[in-house]
């Protein structure tokens, strides 16, 4: 599960309660995760045959699709912890949501770039307003809005409450956006890419997805650790300013 403070959890926002020691993220996890990515990519590149239509261009799938999956997974984490925060008002839940949002935005940007790199040789243009690419772009803008909101609000409690509301409501919209963009496209043409994947490719895709998942878990934990450290420093600075702990 996602990390919590190892000691008694901080009650939240009062500066006079001693903040629990923020968690430490193992460097070994980073090595393992990135090692897994190298291994998975090597395996997939070496073992996958050329596609009938696309040739070896298909190999981009092993980075593009896992990045997309991580994007949606990150957004789901944002949703879960936003709702948890609204329900129980625990500061750590807000910090986890924010960490997942930043990591999700990163994977989202990567997904878009890879989509364009794949699309240029495949379709001849850098961008098409197809359902998946467009939805991913809109999702990216929702992430950016969430992070911008946090940037423009100073009070920690207000930031947490507003982010949680925006995160939850934004997440509700994700399937609606996807559905409406898909309808918008299919009115004039049937879906372009086949839904099923030839089984010879699925193993490579799965191991790459798992490797990316390890990377994402590491990133979220590390980002969360940083947020806890920074928040603890804020609390201690406030306590000091008010006249000592």
């Amino acid at each position: 599960m996602k990390p919590e403070g190892r000691l008694t959890p901080a009650s939240g926002h009062s500066p006079d309660s001693l903040p629990a020691r923020p968690p430490r993220t193992s460097a070994w996890l980073a090595f393992a995760a990135f090692g897994a990515v190298i291994a998975a990519q090597t395996f997939a590149i070496l073992t996958s045959p050329a596609d009938r239509d696309m040739g070896h261009l298909q190999k981009i799938m092993y980075v593009h699709v896992p990045a997309a999956w991580m994007t949606f997974l990150a957004f789901f984490v944002v949703l879960v912890f936003s709702v948890r925060y609204l329900w129980r008002r625990r500061e750590n839940d807000d910090l986890i949501a924010a960490a997942a949002a930043e990591v999700g935005a990163m994977f989202n940007g990567l997904t878009l770039m890879l989509g364009m790199i794949w699309g240029r040789p495949a379709w001849g243009v850098w961008w098409v307003w197809d359902a998946r690419l467009t939805s991913t772009l809109v999702l990216f803008l929702i992430f950016v809005g969430y992070l911008a909101l946090r940037g423009f609000v100073d009070d920690a409690q207000q930031k947490a409450r507003w982010s949680a509301a925006v995160g939850a409501i934004g997440a509700i919209n994700v399937p609606i956006v996807y559905m409406s963009v898909t309808w918008w496209r299919t009115l004039h043409q049937p879906p372009s890419s086949p839904a099923t994947l030839d089984p010879v490719y699925t193993m490579g895709l799965r191991v790459n997805a798992i490797a990316f998942l390890l990377v994402m878990i590491y990133f979220i934990r590390k980002r969360y650790e940083i947020a806890r450290l920074e928040r603890a420093v804020e609390h201690m600075a406030q306590a000091a300013a008010l006249g000592g702990p």
Partner: protein, 51 residues
């Protein structure tokens, strides 16, 4: 088309690694700074340092 395809395949993997390693670097740097600030504050206010 195979040759130019190769360019894009390499570009895709290059971009992936640049982004992932770049973000990793950002987190590591931020983490060092945050941990240093925390340890300094904790030390100043009498808490025991982490081992």
């Amino acid at each position: 088309m195979a040759a130019s395809n190769q360019t894009f395949i390499i570009a895709a993997y290059a971009v992936t690694w640049v982004v992932l390693l770049g973000y990793l670097l950002r987190l590591v740097r931020k983490g060092r700074r945050a941990r240093a600030d925390y340890d300094r504050f904790a030390h100043e206010h009498g808490e025991e340092n982490r081992e």
